[in-house]
Protein backbone atom coordinates (compact mmCIF):
# COMPACT_ATOMS: atom_id res chain seq x y z
CA UNK A 1 0.00 0.00 0.00
CA UNK A 2 2.79 2.39 0.98
CA UNK A 3 4.64 1.48 -2.21
CA UNK A 4 1.55 2.24 -4.28
CA UNK A 5 1.18 5.67 -2.66
CA UNK A 6 4.84 6.48 -3.30
CA UNK A 7 4.51 5.35 -6.91
CA UNK A 8 1.46 7.51 -7.50
CA UNK A 9 3.20 10.52 -5.96
CA UNK A 10 6.30 9.94 -8.08
CA UNK A 11 4.17 9.57 -11.22
CA UNK A 12 2.30 12.78 -10.48
CA UNK A 13 5.57 14.60 -9.82
CA UNK A 14 7.07 13.38 -13.10
CA UNK A 15 4.00 14.40 -15.10
CA UNK A 16 3.77 17.81 -13.39
CA UNK A 17 7.49 18.59 -13.50
CA UNK A 18 7.55 20.51 -16.83
CA UNK A 19 4.79 22.75 -15.48
CA UNK A 20 6.68 23.78 -12.37
CA UNK A 21 10.41 23.18 -12.81
CA UNK A 22 12.97 25.18 -14.81
CA UNK A 23 13.62 23.82 -18.30
CA UNK A 24 17.15 22.83 -17.36
CA UNK A 25 15.98 20.35 -14.74
CA UNK A 26 13.27 19.04 -17.03
CA UNK A 27 15.87 18.24 -19.68
CA UNK A 28 17.90 16.44 -17.01
CA UNK A 29 14.94 14.12 -16.62
CA UNK A 30 15.34 12.95 -20.22
CA UNK A 31 18.55 10.96 -19.69
CA UNK A 32 17.06 9.70 -16.43
CA UNK A 33 14.09 8.25 -18.30
CA UNK A 34 16.28 6.84 -21.07
CA UNK A 35 18.61 5.23 -18.55
CA UNK A 36 15.57 4.07 -16.63
CA UNK A 37 14.53 1.95 -19.60
CA UNK A 38 18.10 0.66 -20.04
CA UNK A 39 18.42 -0.25 -16.37
CA UNK A 40 15.10 -2.05 -16.15
CA UNK A 41 16.48 -4.40 -18.79
CA UNK A 42 19.95 -4.58 -17.33
CA UNK A 43 18.57 -5.50 -13.94
CA UNK A 44 16.59 -8.38 -15.40
CA UNK A 45 19.99 -9.78 -16.25
CA UNK A 46 21.81 -8.58 -13.12
CA UNK A 47 19.33 -8.64 -10.24
CA UNK A 48 17.01 -11.38 -11.44
CA UNK A 49 19.30 -13.72 -13.39
CA UNK A 50 22.59 -13.12 -11.61
CA UNK A 51 24.62 -12.13 -14.67
CA UNK A 52 26.66 -8.92 -14.62
CA UNK A 53 27.22 -7.48 -18.07
CA UNK A 54 30.11 -5.07 -18.54
CA UNK A 55 29.32 -4.53 -22.18
CA UNK A 56 25.73 -3.42 -22.24
CA UNK A 57 26.66 -0.05 -23.72
CA UNK A 58 26.95 -2.06 -26.92
CA UNK A 59 23.16 -2.19 -27.10
CA UNK A 60 22.76 1.44 -26.05
CA UNK A 61 25.03 2.23 -28.97
CA UNK A 62 22.99 0.07 -31.33
CA UNK A 63 19.81 1.89 -30.32
CA UNK A 64 21.39 5.32 -30.66
CA UNK A 65 23.04 4.61 -34.02
CA UNK A 66 19.83 3.04 -35.34
CA UNK A 67 18.13 6.36 -34.68
CA UNK A 68 20.97 8.30 -36.31
CA UNK A 69 21.16 6.08 -39.40
CA UNK A 70 17.41 6.02 -39.92
CA UNK A 71 16.91 9.77 -39.55
CA UNK A 72 19.98 10.91 -41.50
CA UNK A 73 20.44 8.20 -44.13
CA UNK A 74 16.92 6.97 -44.75
CA UNK A 75 14.86 10.00 -43.81
CA UNK A 76 12.74 7.90 -41.49
CA UNK A 77 11.94 10.10 -38.54
CA UNK A 78 8.97 8.48 -36.82
CA UNK A 79 10.20 7.83 -33.28
CA UNK A 80 7.90 4.86 -32.83
CA UNK A 81 9.47 3.15 -35.86
CA UNK A 82 12.95 4.14 -34.68
CA UNK A 83 12.34 2.45 -31.36
CA UNK A 84 10.98 -0.62 -33.10
CA UNK A 85 13.98 -0.75 -35.43
CA UNK A 86 16.36 -0.24 -32.50
CA UNK A 87 14.73 -3.15 -30.67
CA UNK A 88 14.96 -5.39 -33.74
CA UNK A 89 18.58 -4.44 -34.42
CA UNK A 90 19.52 -5.14 -30.81
CA UNK A 91 17.71 -8.48 -30.91
CA UNK A 92 19.53 -9.43 -34.11
CA UNK A 93 22.92 -8.71 -32.50
CA UNK A 94 22.01 -10.06 -29.07
CA UNK A 95 20.85 -13.41 -30.43
CA UNK A 96 24.30 -14.74 -31.40
CA UNK A 97 26.24 -12.67 -28.83
CA UNK A 98 23.93 -13.81 -26.04
CA UNK A 99 24.00 -17.43 -27.19
CA UNK A 100 27.76 -17.41 -26.74
CA UNK A 101 27.96 -15.30 -23.57
CA UNK A 102 25.33 -17.13 -21.50
CA UNK A 103 27.38 -20.31 -21.65
CA UNK A 104 29.70 -18.59 -19.20
CA UNK A 105 29.06 -17.12 -15.79
CA UNK A 106 30.60 -14.73 -13.28
CA UNK A 107 33.74 -12.91 -14.46
CA UNK A 108 33.85 -14.85 -17.74
CA UNK A 109 30.38 -13.65 -18.72
CA UNK A 110 31.32 -10.09 -17.74
CA UNK A 111 34.56 -10.20 -19.71
CA UNK A 112 32.90 -11.65 -22.80
CA UNK A 113 30.23 -8.95 -22.83
CA UNK A 114 32.97 -6.37 -22.32
CA UNK A 115 34.87 -7.83 -25.27
CA UNK A 116 31.84 -7.67 -27.57
CA UNK A 117 31.19 -4.11 -26.41
CA UNK A 118 34.74 -3.13 -27.31
CA UNK A 119 34.49 -4.82 -30.70
CA UNK A 120 31.42 -2.71 -31.46
CA UNK A 121 33.10 0.42 -30.11
CA UNK A 122 36.07 -0.16 -32.41
CA UNK A 123 33.73 -0.77 -35.33
CA UNK A 124 32.02 2.57 -34.65
CA UNK A 125 35.38 4.31 -34.34
CA UNK A 126 37.12 2.84 -37.36
CA UNK A 127 34.42 2.44 -40.00
CA UNK A 128 34.32 6.13 -40.61
CA UNK A 129 32.20 6.11 -43.76
CA UNK A 130 29.47 4.11 -42.13
CA UNK A 131 29.51 5.57 -38.65
CA UNK A 132 31.24 8.93 -38.85
CA UNK A 133 34.13 7.62 -36.75
CA UNK A 134 34.97 9.57 -33.60
CA UNK A 135 32.83 12.49 -34.75
CA UNK A 136 29.77 10.29 -34.79
CA UNK A 137 26.56 11.04 -36.63
CA UNK A 138 23.71 13.46 -36.34
CA UNK A 139 20.37 12.28 -35.14
CA UNK A 140 17.68 14.47 -36.61
CA UNK A 141 14.76 15.46 -34.44
CA UNK A 142 12.31 12.57 -34.61
CA UNK A 143 8.59 12.94 -35.23
CA UNK A 144 6.38 11.91 -32.36
CA UNK A 145 2.97 10.36 -32.95
CA UNK A 146 3.23 11.36 -36.61
CA UNK A 147 3.79 15.04 -35.77
CA UNK A 148 7.00 16.82 -36.76
CA UNK A 149 6.66 19.51 -34.04
CA UNK A 150 8.52 21.87 -36.36
CA UNK A 151 6.98 24.91 -34.71
CA UNK A 152 8.66 24.08 -31.42
CA UNK A 153 12.14 25.29 -30.52
CA UNK A 154 14.54 22.52 -29.55
CA UNK A 155 14.06 23.20 -25.84
CA UNK A 156 10.29 23.44 -26.17
CA UNK A 157 10.28 20.17 -28.10
CA UNK A 158 12.41 18.43 -25.48
CA UNK A 159 10.57 19.63 -22.40
CA UNK A 160 7.17 19.26 -24.04
CA UNK A 161 6.27 16.49 -26.47
CA UNK A 162 9.54 14.58 -26.17
CA UNK A 163 9.42 14.66 -22.38
CA UNK A 164 5.94 13.18 -22.28
CA UNK A 165 6.79 10.70 -25.00
CA UNK A 166 9.70 9.52 -22.83
CA UNK A 167 7.40 9.32 -19.81
CA UNK A 168 5.05 7.04 -21.74
CA UNK A 169 7.89 4.82 -22.98
CA UNK A 170 9.34 4.53 -19.47
CA UNK A 171 5.90 3.76 -18.04
CA UNK A 172 5.26 1.08 -20.66
CA UNK A 173 8.73 -0.40 -20.16
CA UNK A 174 8.17 -0.45 -16.40
CA UNK A 175 4.75 -2.10 -16.66
CA UNK A 176 6.03 -4.72 -19.08
CA UNK A 177 9.03 -5.50 -16.90
CA UNK A 178 6.80 -5.61 -13.82
CA UNK A 179 4.81 -8.35 -15.56
CA UNK A 180 7.92 -10.18 -16.68
CA UNK A 181 9.51 -10.42 -13.24
CA UNK A 182 6.23 -11.63 -11.73
CA UNK A 183 5.60 -14.22 -14.42
CA UNK A 184 6.53 -17.90 -14.37
CA UNK A 185 9.45 -16.86 -16.57
CA UNK A 186 10.61 -14.38 -13.92
CA UNK A 187 10.45 -17.10 -11.29
CA UNK A 188 12.60 -19.38 -13.45
CA UNK A 189 15.18 -16.60 -13.78
CA UNK A 190 15.33 -16.22 -10.01
CA UNK A 191 15.90 -19.96 -9.58
CA UNK A 192 18.83 -19.67 -11.98
CA UNK A 193 20.23 -16.69 -10.11
CA UNK A 194 20.03 -18.50 -6.79
CA UNK A 195 21.19 -21.96 -7.77
CA UNK A 196 21.68 -22.99 -11.43
CA UNK A 197 22.43 -26.60 -10.51
CA UNK A 198 19.16 -26.97 -8.64
CA UNK A 199 17.28 -25.08 -11.36
CA UNK A 200 18.53 -27.56 -13.96
CA UNK A 201 17.45 -30.46 -11.78
CA UNK A 202 13.94 -29.00 -11.75
CA UNK A 203 13.92 -28.93 -15.53
CA UNK A 204 14.74 -25.25 -16.03
CA UNK A 205 16.99 -24.95 -19.05
CA UNK A 206 19.58 -22.55 -17.67
CA UNK A 207 21.28 -21.46 -20.93
CA UNK A 208 17.94 -20.96 -22.70
CA UNK A 209 16.46 -18.81 -19.94
CA UNK A 210 19.66 -16.82 -19.56
CA UNK A 211 19.53 -16.18 -23.30
CA UNK A 212 15.93 -14.97 -23.07
CA UNK A 213 16.93 -12.57 -20.30
CA UNK A 214 19.90 -11.38 -22.33
CA UNK A 215 17.68 -10.72 -25.35
CA UNK A 216 15.12 -8.78 -23.34
CA UNK A 217 17.78 -6.70 -21.62
CA UNK A 218 19.44 -5.94 -24.97
CA UNK A 219 16.13 -4.76 -26.44
CA UNK A 220 15.53 -2.54 -23.42
CA UNK A 221 19.04 -1.10 -23.71
CA UNK A 222 18.56 -0.30 -27.40
CA UNK A 223 15.22 1.41 -26.81
CA UNK A 224 16.82 3.39 -23.99
CA UNK A 225 19.79 4.18 -26.25
CA UNK A 226 17.53 5.63 -28.95
CA UNK A 227 15.76 7.74 -26.31
CA UNK A 228 19.08 8.85 -24.83
CA UNK A 229 20.59 10.08 -28.09
CA UNK A 230 17.68 12.18 -29.29
CA UNK A 231 18.10 15.18 -26.91
CA UNK A 232 21.76 15.69 -27.85
CA UNK A 233 21.02 15.23 -31.56
CA UNK A 234 24.33 13.47 -32.03
CA UNK A 235 25.66 9.98 -31.47
CA UNK A 236 29.31 9.01 -31.09
CA UNK A 237 31.31 5.90 -30.17
CA UNK A 238 31.60 6.82 -26.48
CA UNK A 239 28.00 5.67 -26.14
CA UNK A 240 29.30 2.13 -26.66
CA UNK A 241 32.54 2.56 -24.69
CA UNK A 242 33.20 0.34 -21.71
CA UNK A 243 33.12 3.25 -19.24
CA UNK A 244 29.52 3.80 -20.28
CA UNK A 245 28.83 0.13 -19.47
CA UNK A 246 30.51 0.76 -16.13
CA UNK A 247 28.31 3.78 -15.49
CA UNK A 248 25.09 1.84 -15.94
CA UNK A 249 26.30 -0.96 -13.70
CA UNK A 250 27.13 1.75 -11.16
CA UNK A 251 23.60 3.15 -11.46
CA UNK A 252 22.15 -0.28 -10.73
CA UNK A 253 24.41 -0.70 -7.70
CA UNK A 254 23.64 2.82 -6.53
CA UNK A 255 19.90 2.23 -6.54
CA UNK A 256 20.06 -1.42 -5.50
CA UNK A 257 19.80 -4.38 -7.82
CA UNK A 258 17.77 -6.37 -5.32
CA UNK A 259 14.75 -4.14 -5.77
CA UNK A 260 12.58 -3.67 -8.84
CA UNK A 261 12.64 0.13 -8.55
CA UNK A 262 16.20 0.36 -7.25
CA UNK A 263 17.82 0.84 -10.67
CA UNK A 264 15.35 3.62 -11.52
CA UNK A 265 16.28 5.38 -8.31
CA UNK A 266 19.93 4.78 -9.15
CA UNK A 267 19.55 6.40 -12.56
CA UNK A 268 17.78 9.40 -11.07
CA UNK A 269 20.34 9.97 -8.34
CA UNK A 270 23.26 9.39 -10.70
CA UNK A 271 22.05 11.92 -13.27
CA UNK A 272 21.27 14.66 -10.79
CA UNK A 273 24.30 13.98 -8.61
CA UNK A 274 26.60 13.98 -11.62
CA UNK A 275 25.15 17.29 -12.72
CA UNK A 276 25.57 18.80 -9.27
CA UNK A 277 29.07 17.46 -8.64
CA UNK A 278 30.27 18.47 -12.12
CA UNK A 279 29.13 22.02 -11.53
CA UNK A 280 31.26 22.43 -8.41
CA UNK A 281 34.13 19.99 -8.88
CA UNK A 282 35.79 19.10 -12.18
CA UNK A 283 36.96 15.67 -11.06
CA UNK A 284 33.51 14.17 -10.70
CA UNK A 285 34.75 10.66 -11.48
CA UNK A 286 36.92 10.84 -8.38
CA UNK A 287 33.86 11.53 -6.27
CA UNK A 288 31.86 8.80 -7.96
CA UNK A 289 34.70 6.32 -7.58
CA UNK A 290 34.82 6.98 -3.84
CA UNK A 291 31.03 6.67 -3.71
CA UNK A 292 31.13 3.33 -5.48
CA UNK A 293 33.71 2.01 -3.02
CA UNK A 294 31.62 3.25 -0.09
CA UNK A 295 28.49 1.71 -1.56
CA UNK A 296 30.00 -1.71 -2.00
CA UNK A 297 31.46 -1.69 1.51
CA UNK A 298 28.74 -0.02 3.55
CA UNK A 299 25.53 -0.38 1.53
CA UNK A 300 25.71 -3.35 -0.82
CA UNK A 301 21.93 -3.16 -1.15
CA UNK A 302 22.19 0.34 -2.62
CA UNK A 303 19.87 3.20 -1.73
CA UNK A 304 16.80 0.98 -1.78
CA UNK A 305 18.57 -1.35 0.59
CA UNK A 306 18.89 1.50 3.05
CA UNK A 307 15.14 2.05 2.87
CA UNK A 308 14.19 -1.59 3.04
CA UNK A 309 16.40 -3.34 5.53
CA UNK A 310 15.41 -6.84 4.53
CA UNK A 311 16.77 -6.86 1.05
CA UNK A 312 16.53 -10.51 0.12
CA UNK A 313 12.80 -10.52 0.87
CA UNK A 314 12.48 -7.56 -1.46
CA UNK A 315 14.24 -9.62 -4.08
CA UNK A 316 11.90 -12.51 -3.77
CA UNK A 317 8.97 -10.21 -4.06
CA UNK A 318 10.50 -8.70 -7.16
Amino acid sequence: MRTAVVLVLVAVAIVALPLVAPAYYVTLMLPFMAYGVVLLGLNLLFGYTGLVSFGHALFIGIGAYTGAVLTTRFGMRQMELILLAAALAAAAVAAPVGALCVRYVKIYFGMLTLAFGMVFYTFLLKFYRLTGGDEGMRLLRPYLLGQSWEGFSKTAYLIGPYYYFSVVILALATLLMWRVVRSPFGLCLRTIRDNPLKAESLGVSVPRFRWYAFMISAVYAAVGGALLATPTGNVDPTLAYWTHSGNIVFMVLLGGFASFFGPLLGAFVFIFLQDTVMSVFPYWRLVFGAMLAALVIFAPGGLMGLFARRLPVEVSRG
Partner: protein
Protein backbone atom coordinates in the same frame (compact mmCIF):
# COMPACT_ATOMS: atom_id res chain seq x y z
CA UNK B 1 12.08 -52.51 -15.99
CA UNK B 2 12.09 -48.75 -15.50
CA UNK B 3 15.78 -48.00 -15.23
CA UNK B 4 18.63 -50.14 -16.39
CA UNK B 5 22.39 -49.73 -16.53
CA UNK B 6 24.41 -52.16 -18.60
CA UNK B 7 28.14 -52.57 -18.15
CA UNK B 8 28.58 -48.87 -17.37
CA UNK B 9 32.10 -47.52 -17.20
CA UNK B 10 33.05 -44.02 -16.21
CA UNK B 11 36.59 -42.74 -16.35
CA UNK B 12 38.11 -39.54 -14.98
CA UNK B 13 41.30 -39.46 -16.97
CA UNK B 14 43.07 -42.66 -16.06
CA UNK B 15 40.99 -43.16 -12.91
CA UNK B 16 38.21 -45.73 -13.26
CA UNK B 17 35.25 -44.51 -11.16
CA UNK B 18 32.78 -47.07 -12.48
CA UNK B 19 33.89 -50.34 -13.94
CA UNK B 20 31.26 -52.45 -15.67
CA UNK B 21 28.32 -51.59 -13.42
CA UNK B 22 25.06 -53.28 -14.33
CA UNK B 23 21.84 -52.81 -12.41
CA UNK B 24 18.14 -52.58 -12.92
CA UNK B 25 15.26 -50.91 -11.10
CA UNK B 26 11.82 -52.42 -11.36
CA UNK B 27 8.32 -51.05 -10.84
CA UNK B 28 7.51 -50.38 -7.20
CA UNK B 29 11.02 -50.88 -5.89
CA UNK B 30 12.91 -48.89 -3.29
CA UNK B 31 16.55 -49.50 -4.14
CA UNK B 32 19.48 -48.36 -2.02
CA UNK B 33 23.02 -48.03 -3.29
CA UNK B 34 25.63 -48.40 -0.60
CA UNK B 35 29.39 -48.42 -0.50
CA UNK B 36 32.38 -46.90 1.23
CA UNK B 37 33.64 -43.45 0.29
CA UNK B 38 35.12 -43.49 -3.19
CA UNK B 39 33.10 -46.54 -4.25
CA UNK B 40 31.54 -44.57 -7.12
CA UNK B 41 28.04 -44.02 -5.69
CA UNK B 42 27.70 -40.35 -6.56
CA UNK B 43 29.27 -40.91 -9.96
CA UNK B 44 26.73 -43.67 -10.54
CA UNK B 45 23.85 -41.36 -9.56
CA UNK B 46 25.22 -38.69 -11.89
CA UNK B 47 25.43 -41.19 -14.73
CA UNK B 48 21.96 -42.58 -14.01
CA UNK B 49 20.51 -39.05 -14.01
CA UNK B 50 22.14 -38.14 -17.30
CA UNK B 51 24.39 -35.48 -15.78
CA UNK B 52 27.49 -37.48 -16.71
CA UNK B 53 27.79 -39.47 -19.91
CA UNK B 54 29.11 -42.98 -19.36
CA UNK B 55 32.52 -43.67 -20.87
CA UNK B 56 31.21 -47.08 -21.87
CA UNK B 57 28.05 -49.15 -21.60
CA UNK B 58 24.54 -47.73 -21.60
CA UNK B 59 21.85 -46.37 -19.31
CA UNK B 60 18.22 -46.84 -20.34
CA UNK B 61 15.16 -45.22 -18.79
CA UNK B 62 11.77 -46.41 -20.01
CA UNK B 63 13.54 -48.21 -22.87
CA UNK B 64 15.33 -45.08 -24.01
CA UNK B 65 19.07 -44.46 -23.96
CA UNK B 66 19.62 -41.52 -21.60
CA UNK B 67 23.41 -41.48 -21.40
CA UNK B 68 24.47 -37.86 -20.83
CA UNK B 69 21.23 -36.32 -22.07
CA UNK B 70 21.22 -33.84 -19.18
CA UNK B 71 19.02 -33.05 -16.24
CA UNK B 72 16.46 -30.96 -18.11
CA UNK B 73 15.66 -33.64 -20.71
CA UNK B 74 15.52 -36.32 -18.03
CA UNK B 75 13.14 -34.28 -15.95
CA UNK B 76 10.79 -34.13 -18.92
CA UNK B 77 11.05 -37.89 -19.32
CA UNK B 78 9.90 -38.36 -15.73
CA UNK B 79 13.05 -38.66 -13.65
CA UNK B 80 13.89 -36.36 -10.73
CA UNK B 81 16.77 -36.21 -8.31
CA UNK B 82 17.94 -34.59 -5.13
CA UNK B 83 21.50 -33.87 -4.12
CA UNK B 84 23.86 -35.01 -1.39
CA UNK B 85 24.53 -31.41 -0.32
CA UNK B 86 21.25 -29.64 0.23
CA UNK B 87 20.29 -27.52 -2.76
CA UNK B 88 17.84 -24.70 -2.26
CA UNK B 89 17.08 -21.28 -3.71
CA UNK B 90 18.09 -19.10 -0.74
CA UNK B 91 16.18 -15.97 -1.77
CA UNK B 92 12.98 -17.76 -2.73
CA UNK B 93 10.26 -18.78 -0.33
CA UNK B 94 9.20 -22.36 0.20
CA UNK B 95 6.11 -21.79 -1.94
CA UNK B 96 8.12 -20.16 -4.74
CA UNK B 97 10.54 -23.09 -4.75
CA UNK B 98 7.70 -25.54 -5.20
CA UNK B 99 5.99 -23.27 -7.73
CA UNK B 100 9.18 -23.28 -9.79
CA UNK B 101 9.03 -27.08 -9.98
CA UNK B 102 5.33 -27.03 -10.91
CA UNK B 103 5.92 -24.32 -13.53
CA UNK B 104 8.70 -26.41 -15.01
CA UNK B 105 6.61 -29.58 -15.07
CA UNK B 106 3.66 -27.84 -16.72
CA UNK B 107 5.95 -26.22 -19.29
CA UNK B 108 4.93 -22.69 -18.28
CA UNK B 109 8.44 -21.27 -17.94
CA UNK B 110 8.30 -19.40 -21.23
CA UNK B 111 5.24 -17.42 -20.25
CA UNK B 112 6.79 -13.98 -20.09
CA UNK B 113 3.78 -11.89 -19.16
CA UNK B 114 1.43 -14.30 -17.38
CA UNK B 115 0.81 -13.64 -13.71
CA UNK B 116 2.35 -16.30 -11.51
CA UNK B 117 0.26 -15.25 -8.53
CA UNK B 118 -2.88 -15.47 -10.65
CA UNK B 119 -2.23 -19.02 -11.80
CA UNK B 120 -4.49 -21.04 -9.52
CA UNK B 121 -3.26 -24.42 -10.70
CA UNK B 122 0.41 -23.67 -10.01
CA UNK B 123 -0.47 -22.23 -6.62
CA UNK B 124 -2.70 -25.16 -5.68
CA UNK B 125 -0.28 -27.88 -6.75
CA UNK B 126 2.64 -26.20 -4.98
CA UNK B 127 0.63 -25.93 -1.79
CA UNK B 128 -0.41 -29.59 -2.09
CA UNK B 129 3.22 -30.67 -2.17
CA UNK B 130 4.02 -28.31 0.70
CA UNK B 131 1.26 -29.96 2.74
CA UNK B 132 2.49 -33.43 1.77
CA UNK B 133 5.89 -32.58 3.26
CA UNK B 134 4.45 -30.64 6.21
CA UNK B 135 5.94 -27.41 4.90
CA UNK B 136 2.65 -25.58 4.32
CA UNK B 137 3.00 -23.56 7.54
CA UNK B 138 6.28 -22.22 6.21
CA UNK B 139 5.08 -21.58 2.68
CA UNK B 140 6.05 -17.92 2.76
CA UNK B 141 9.29 -18.36 4.68
CA UNK B 142 12.48 -17.60 2.75
CA UNK B 143 14.21 -20.94 2.36
CA UNK B 144 17.50 -19.65 3.77
CA UNK B 145 15.72 -19.19 7.10
CA UNK B 146 14.58 -22.82 7.33
CA UNK B 147 16.26 -25.23 9.75
CA UNK B 148 18.57 -27.74 8.08
CA UNK B 149 16.06 -30.59 8.26
CA UNK B 150 13.40 -28.52 6.49
CA UNK B 151 15.89 -27.42 3.85
CA UNK B 152 16.61 -31.05 3.10
CA UNK B 153 12.91 -31.80 3.06
CA UNK B 154 12.25 -28.92 0.68
CA UNK B 155 15.04 -30.10 -1.60
CA UNK B 156 13.34 -33.48 -1.84
CA UNK B 157 9.83 -31.95 -1.96
CA UNK B 158 10.74 -29.81 -4.96
CA UNK B 159 11.84 -32.96 -6.79
CA UNK B 160 8.50 -34.57 -5.87
CA UNK B 161 6.65 -31.50 -7.18
CA UNK B 162 7.84 -32.55 -10.61
CA UNK B 163 5.62 -35.63 -10.19
CA UNK B 164 8.30 -37.91 -11.59
CA UNK B 165 7.96 -41.61 -12.27
CA UNK B 166 11.27 -42.35 -10.60
CA UNK B 167 13.33 -40.34 -8.15
CA UNK B 168 17.01 -40.66 -7.34
CA UNK B 169 18.04 -39.37 -3.96
CA UNK B 170 21.69 -38.77 -3.16
CA UNK B 171 21.89 -39.21 0.60
CA UNK B 172 18.46 -37.78 1.42
CA UNK B 173 19.21 -37.65 5.14
CA UNK B 174 22.79 -36.41 5.09
CA UNK B 175 23.46 -33.44 7.33
CA UNK B 176 20.21 -34.07 9.19
CA UNK B 177 19.96 -34.91 12.88
CA UNK B 178 19.34 -38.55 13.74
CA UNK B 179 15.95 -37.62 15.14
CA UNK B 180 14.91 -36.03 11.83
CA UNK B 181 16.13 -38.85 9.58
CA UNK B 182 13.28 -41.25 10.14
CA UNK B 183 10.73 -38.48 9.91
CA UNK B 184 12.14 -37.40 6.55
CA UNK B 185 12.13 -40.97 5.23
CA UNK B 186 8.59 -41.63 6.43
CA UNK B 187 7.40 -38.41 4.80
CA UNK B 188 9.21 -39.32 1.64
CA UNK B 189 7.72 -42.79 1.40
CA UNK B 190 4.22 -41.49 2.15
CA UNK B 191 4.59 -38.79 -0.49
CA UNK B 192 5.85 -41.35 -2.99
CA UNK B 193 2.66 -43.33 -2.52
CA UNK B 194 0.48 -40.24 -2.90
CA UNK B 195 1.98 -39.07 -6.18
CA UNK B 196 2.18 -42.59 -7.64
CA UNK B 197 5.96 -42.77 -7.87
CA UNK B 198 7.00 -45.96 -9.67
CA UNK B 199 10.41 -46.38 -8.04
CA UNK B 200 12.91 -44.78 -5.68
CA UNK B 201 16.68 -45.10 -5.84
CA UNK B 202 18.78 -43.69 -3.04
CA UNK B 203 22.41 -43.48 -2.15
CA UNK B 204 22.70 -43.68 1.62
CA UNK B 205 25.39 -44.13 4.24
CA UNK B 206 23.09 -44.63 7.21
CA UNK B 207 22.61 -48.40 7.35
CA UNK B 208 19.64 -48.12 9.70
CA UNK B 209 17.82 -46.13 7.03
CA UNK B 210 19.01 -48.44 4.24
CA UNK B 211 17.84 -51.64 5.92
CA UNK B 212 14.61 -50.15 7.22
CA UNK B 213 13.30 -48.86 3.90
CA UNK B 214 14.91 -50.75 1.03
CA UNK B 215 13.41 -53.55 -1.05
CA UNK B 216 16.78 -54.15 -2.61
CA UNK B 217 20.34 -53.07 -1.88
CA UNK B 218 23.18 -52.70 -4.33
CA UNK B 219 26.64 -52.62 -2.77
CA UNK B 220 29.39 -50.88 -4.69
CA UNK B 221 33.09 -51.23 -4.07
CA UNK B 222 35.89 -49.67 -6.10
CA UNK B 223 33.53 -48.88 -8.95
CA UNK B 224 32.10 -52.39 -9.23
CA UNK B 225 28.90 -54.04 -8.04
CA UNK B 226 29.85 -56.16 -5.09
CA UNK B 227 26.38 -57.47 -4.33
CA UNK B 228 22.80 -56.90 -5.41
CA UNK B 229 19.86 -58.34 -3.54
CA UNK B 230 17.23 -57.96 -0.80
CA UNK B 231 18.39 -56.74 2.64
CA UNK B 232 18.55 -60.23 4.13
CA UNK B 233 20.81 -61.47 1.35
CA UNK B 234 23.08 -58.45 1.62
CA UNK B 235 23.36 -58.93 5.36
CA UNK B 236 24.56 -62.48 4.87
CA UNK B 237 27.12 -61.56 2.22
CA UNK B 238 30.52 -61.81 3.79
CA UNK B 239 32.24 -59.53 1.25
CA UNK B 240 29.69 -56.77 1.87
CA UNK B 241 30.14 -57.20 5.60
CA UNK B 242 33.88 -56.84 5.33
CA UNK B 243 34.11 -53.95 2.89
CA UNK B 244 30.91 -51.90 3.19
CA UNK B 245 28.89 -52.45 6.35
CA UNK B 246 31.33 -53.67 8.92
CA UNK B 247 30.91 -56.61 11.28
CA UNK B 248 29.82 -54.67 14.32
CA UNK B 249 27.08 -52.89 12.44
CA UNK B 250 25.92 -56.17 10.95
CA UNK B 251 25.74 -57.83 14.32
CA UNK B 252 23.71 -54.96 15.66
CA UNK B 253 21.31 -55.13 12.72
CA UNK B 254 20.90 -58.92 12.45
CA UNK B 255 17.97 -59.40 14.88
CA UNK B 256 15.88 -56.80 13.04
CA UNK B 257 16.08 -58.82 9.84
Amino acid sequence: MILEARNVRRLYGAFVALDGVSLSVREGEFVSIIGPNGAGKSTLINVLTGVLAPSGGSVRFKDRDIGGIGAVALTRLGMARSFQLVQIFPELTVLETLQAAVVSRLGLGSRFFASLAGDGRVQREALEVAALFSLHDKAHTPTRELPQGDKKLLDVASAFALKPEIILLDEPTSGVSTADKTAIMDTLVTAAGRIGLRAIVQVEHDMDIVFAYSDRIIALHQGKVLADGPPATILSDQRVMDTVIGRRAATRRAPAC
